[in-house]
């Protein structure tokens, strides 16, 4: 595995099996994302983009091949170790935000910090800073249902960056937003990349937005085609 890669996949294959069906979602995938790189993943629906992102984010395990995060292969890691790695190194932004409706904006943002040994005061302070970063510090006590889609996605970004992860994985972060809100979200992601040298991998269908990233990885039928 190469030295300065933040995420690296070697010969990765992902097959979903049921009793009657075998679906190959990804095959022969070799990909390396360097530190501070902003990469887009593109391809038609069902080509394996989200599967690839889930494997990079350690939310799923490959059927074959190896995944390494920050130079460390994770195939031998147990639940606790994988959870710790996700907590420390990776932040997720989902297409449908996935905010917890019963929690306030601040409580949602604090979630990654709950799984670290940290005082409530420090958690609250870091959540406030993260919300400030996405321009939502005035909505700390609101609940997700009281926010617009764009605001909810900004809260989700604040949650993704609150733990200062080195990798940000965004699965169609603008997919559920109108173009203006989508532009705002992309502005935040580009800001994070420029200001904090965040490593960002983003799944998108939008060639214009993908074109503004440093590299585009194209997938078709579970294979890399560029």
């Amino acid at each position: 595995m190469s030295g300065n890669a933040m995420v690296e996949l070697q010969g990765v294959e992902k097959v979903y099996r049921t009793s009657t069906l075998e679906t190959v979602a990804l095959t022969a995938m070799n990909l390396s994302v360097g530190e501070g790189e902003f990469v887009s993943i593109m391809g038609p629906s069902g080509c394996g983009k989200s599967t690839l992102l889930n494997l990079m984010g350690l939310l799923d395990v490959p059927t074959a091949g190896r995944v390494a995060v920050n130079g460390t292969p994770v195939e031998s890691y147990r639940d606790r170790e994988v959870a710790a790695l996700r907590n420390k190194e990776i932040g997720f932004v989902f297409q449908s935000f996935h905010l917890i409706p019963d929690l306030s904006v601040a409580d949602n943002v604090e979630i990654p910090l709950l799984y670290r040994s940290m005082s409530a005061r420090e958690r609250r302070e870091r959540a406030r800073k993260a919300l400030d970063r996405v321009g939502l510090s005035s909505r700390v006590h609101h609940f997700p249902s009281q926010l617009s889609g764009g605001q909810q996605q900004r809260v989700a970004i604040a949650r993704a960056i609150v733990g200062s992860p080195r990798i940000l994985l965004a699965d169609e972060p603008t997919g559920n937003l109108d173009s203006q809100m989508g532009d705002e979200i992309m502005g935040i992601l580009h800001g994070l990349h420029a200001d904090e040298r965040a490593t960002i991998v983003m799944v998108t269908h939008d060639p214009l937005r993908a074109g503004k990233t440093q590299r585009i990885v194209r997938l078709f039928d579970g294979r890399q085609v560029n």
Partner: protein
């Protein structure tokens, strides 16, 4: 983290009002029943006045016999046998002989009434810790001289004499006129040794058969040990003396062909086990020995079975509630929650729910116990919430909460994060 879990639990429970209401009803109803049962057990087993020294009390209630021609039977403890052979057992501080309850017709001021009467001795008042509202107990001299004196309860005083003092008044029982020398607080019917309406010296018994024949029975022997540590030795000495009782010397026993007489000393819990579970749960062996383990085992099994149905119901509700929140589980896993942390979170939620249910259950149990006391179904029983009952109920609540929360939480923690984020299980 715990504070965050508690806050989330409160919000989740408030948001899902129907689920919360159904769960709380099931939990609180179950706990009302269990707490009432615990309070009843506490009422019969715990040291309550006048039985404040239960931990060093033993009693003999019955004797079993067998005859040469194979007949078997049992009868209430013999005054004569106990008086003659069981006095002076090392380690025994006091021994008292008291008759089993006898229902008698009593008259005072021409007013007839059925009363429960107990004939006993002066040591009875030293073994028990009665609160005297008027006067005091009868003395050894009263017993020796067969004085026609009586101690009555406050309930009897009220019924015979209204609000007037009873001391020195006369009550006629079984054709004898007794002078009241003392008035004590009422005693629950569920406490066999202290319970009565009316106590008189055993020597006032007109027939006096209990002092002449072993077979006359009709008594209970109560022993107060110097310390709980003396109890095993006292039991052993009692058993040894029982084997040496020359039963053939008793004319009735000889006539009936009795060749073996067995009796066992019982601790208060053993008496309760024999009285309430002796036949149904085989808590007493053929020799009359109480198997306390069986009694408490049967009680625990019944409590468990009773809790099983609402637990399964709550497990089922919890599984669907947890799976409804699959997306939250996916998010938490994605941001670093371990399976263990998630199990902890959902168990805390469930324990919060069951503790709230438990508190409602306590309120319900308090009302039920009050109604039970007020109804006088069991004469003079005072069923109360106390520290023991409260802690037992709380322990049951937490046990119930962990039991019904652990399985759904474990199932939920096994969800694959990708599937959880999609809102379902694989």
């Amino acid at each position: 983290m715990l504070r965050s879990y508690l806050r989330l639990a409160t919000r989740v429970l408030l948001r899902r009002k129907f689920f919360t209401a159904v769960s709380l009803f099931g939990i609180s109803f179950t706990l009302v029943v269990l707490t009432v049962v615990v309070a009843l057990l506490d009422h019969v087993l715990a040291p309550l006045p006048p039985e404040t020294r239960l931990e060093r009390t033993l009693a003999v209630y019955q004797m079993r016999f067998s005859t040469r021609d194979g007949r078997r039977g049992r009868f209430e403890t013999s005054f004569l046998l106990m008086d003659r052979y069981m006095r002076g057992i090392p380690g025994v501080e006091r021994m008292s002989l008291l008759s089993t309850q006898q229902e008698m017709m009593a008259y005072a001021n021409g007013e007839p009434m059925v009363v429960t009467l107990k004939r006993t001795d002066a040591d009875y008042w030293k073994i028990l810790d009665f609160a005297f509202l008027e006067g005091g107990p009868f003395t050894e001299a009263d017993v020796e001289n067969a004085s026609l004196v009586a101690v009555i309860t406050e309930a009897m005083r009220r019924r015979f004499f209204g609000h007037a003092p009873a001391l020195g008044e006369t009550i006629e029982v079984d054709g004898q006129r007794f002078h009241v020398v003392g008035v004590v607080s009422n005693v629950s019917r569920l406490r066999p040794i202290p319970y009565s309406d009316f106590w008189v010296p055993h020597t006032t018994d007109k027939s006096g058969a209990h002092r002449r024949q072993i077979a006359a029975g009709g008594y209970v022997a109560a022993f107060l040990a110097r310390s709980p540590a003396d109890l095993p030795a006292i039991r052993a000495e009692f058993a040894s003396r029982m084997q040496r009782v020359p039963i053939h010397d008793d004319p009735v026993a000889a006539r009936e062909g009795v060749d073996r007489l067995v009796a066992h000393m019982e601790a208060p819990a053993e008496t309760v086990a024999r009285l309430y579970a002796g036949d149904d749960f085989m808590a007493v062996d053929e020799e009359g020995r109480v198997r306390l383990g069986r009694f408490f085992g049967a009680l625990a099994a019944l409590a468990f079975l009773f809790m099983l149905l609402p637990t399964l119901n709550l497990v089922n509700l919890n599984v669907s509630r947890v799976l409804e929140r699959a997306s939250e589980i996916g998010v938490r896993k994605a941001f670093g929650a371990t399976s263990r942390a998630l199990v902890g979170q959902f168990v805390v939620e469930n324990v919060v729910l069951t503790i709230v249910g438990g508190l409602l259950g306590f309120v319900g149990a308090y009302a039920v116990l009050g109604a039970l006391t007020g109804s006088e179904v069991i004469p003079y029983a005072q069923f109360r919430m106390n520290g023991r009952v409260f802690l037992s109920g709380l322990a049951l609540s937490v046990f119930f909460g962990v039991l019904s929360g652990a399985y759904p939480a474990w199932r939920m923690s096994r969800l694959n994060p990708v599937d959880a984020l999609k809102g379902g299980a694989r």
